[in-house]
Symmetry: none
DNA sequence: CATGAATGAGTATTCATTCAT
DNA sequence: GATGAATGAATACTCATTCAT
């Protein structure tokens, strides 16, 4: 997808760009967005110059990482939306976002904030997701599977919050499932 | 609690220390923990030297701020524990933690992380809260007001997560209440 | 002089500031304004941090250097203006500016440009000089010692140009005097 | 002149070289010699690689630009030297150099410095001009149109200085003429 | 030959921490 | 004790130059 790519990158350049994105995702997640650019470049096996050639700013790199993540989520959410029963689709999508965001709290917050103050590219991809979520939410509500009084802002907030809960909890799958139980049961009309 | 203070501080020194803590709480909350120490010193009306005399490290200052916050929460939670009906006490305490932590997500995460990797003083005060929460949780579960399968880790995770949801949501009180509805209903035995 | 000095600097701070200005003047002159700040700090015997504490920007340092230079010229020009015969005062001042500016072409150009686009402090001090030169020029013209059709812009241009000539020429005193002969004779009504 | 070119350039290579020189002249003049090489390459419609193939160093490019400028001046000065009355030839050449150098002070200084420390190619072309100017000066002095005590160094200095004056003055043609009046009258025997 | 991606040394600036006043 | 000046390691970003495609 990748937005408006001026000219197609040369093979090696594309490889470097992809590698930088992968590494940056990993490093930002593991050690925080404060990690020096040089570290990321080194981890990607390129010089700083290369990093800055592909992403003119550290912020731009962070943005690109988030856009990729958002686009991945949007793509998988789109699959769910098609021929799945509305309630199932909604809860599956909720899980999907949480799982994709796990360990990436800083990103998720940026994600949510995107609707308010982020740059164009981010806003663009987050708008897509926001729209998808709005549809899923409406569908689930029409099907009587989700409290009717909830709006998209509350849904976003719960997504962010649940992600934070999961990050806090660590890897224990049973405990994670108990969190999902609480949130999902709470989402249903009482 | 203040730990083991060798000799009691002179009056002005004590005043400076308190003022620094107040200001640091405010500034770290409003502008993030990245705010330069000099800014905090200036806002407190003292020189950096004084700041570093009271808190040998920026991290130590941050820690002290969090300890104070934890102690305040513990104190108010203790009040709730005494002669209140268990279920009410539990949900009131939950709200209390959320309200005290609102807008201080960075702190809350540090708080929660405390059980794992923070310094002694932090662990100490967070242990107090953890114990209180454990008691409140057990009480509410005995009273049949909270799902019995939940443990303290899940409770902590939900506290952190709900704080994140609230931060994300902003000030709208009705929406905040809807989040509480979801979480509290989800906490109840189904 | 020195503009609005908030509080008087501590003795050592003042010494450092002065030393930095001296060294910067020398180094910028000898090796150009492209010289790294770190070099200047080292030459002044202080750390970079100190340099940036006194001058928040490299540009600010350059500006301060120029202001000092301008103020010195203004002060000495003021002495000349008092009880000296107009024609003599004018030509002495001309020499003075040239001598003060020798080897500092980059500065002189900045000086002249100040009237157009420099920062407040620079504009301020250059306005003083400009005014003094205007008076000196008018006096010399009234005394019939300088071509009446010349204005301050032309005078400024000639000052800059003569400085450039001198820089180009090097130290040979006799040759320098020949340049002065050409310019001064050319300035006189023909 | 182009120096000793091993093999004649292919047509397109020659075109690129010429285009790079044109563009570099323009860009260095308009935005200073600090302009990145990449900018120049882009403006010339070639890649950086091509630029560096033709000029192994940025400095070499700058040098080539100056050589071309010098050669142009030399050529036009040569025309003047032939069948023109000596005094007229001298003053016309003076004007010519000034007009060609206008707005290119950085170059002119480099030009003048060439006699002292520049590379061979520059020295070569500046020697030509220097010789021409020496002849023109001698002719004008023999004709009694210029002060006899002036030498070529002073003439060079005055050329550089007058260029600086003009740069400083800007476009006002009347004011420029007044500067010429001062310098030319000053050059004449008094 | 041309291209433009990669390189990495170099530069201005910030900020936690120390120490002379 | 308090002050704030000094320190210098750390960091984002630039740009001349090289080299794989």
């Amino acid at each position: 997808m990748n937005g408006a790519q001026g000219r197609p990158l040369r093979a090696d350049a594309a490889r470097n760009r992809a590698r930088l994105l992968d590494v940056a995702t990993e490093v930002f997640t593991a050690r925080g967005v404060g990690t020096p650019t040089e570290e990321i470049a080194r981890a990607a096996g390129v010089g700083v110059g290369t990093l800055f050639r592909h992403f003119p700013t550290k912020e731009a790199l962070l943005e690109a990482v988030m856009v990729r993540r958002l686009e991945a989520i949007a793509a998988r959410t789109a699959e769910l939306t098609i021929d799945t029963e509305p309630a199932t689709a909604f809860f599956d999508a909720f899980r999907l976002v949480i799982d994709q965001s796990a360990g990436k709290n800083e990103f998720t917050r940026a994600l949510a904030a995107a609707g308010v103050d982020a740059h164009e590219s981010l806003r663009e991809s987050s708008t897509v997701i926001r729209t998808q979520l709005a549809e899923l939410l409406a569908g689930a509500q029409r099907a009587g599977a989700v409290r009717p009084e909830l709006g998209v802002p509350e849904l976003m907030a719960l997504l962010v919050g649940t992600t934070a809960s999961m990050d806090q909890l660590g890897a224990d799958p049973a405990a994670r499932e108990r969190i999902f139980d609480v949130v999902f049961d709470g989402l249903r009309p009482q």
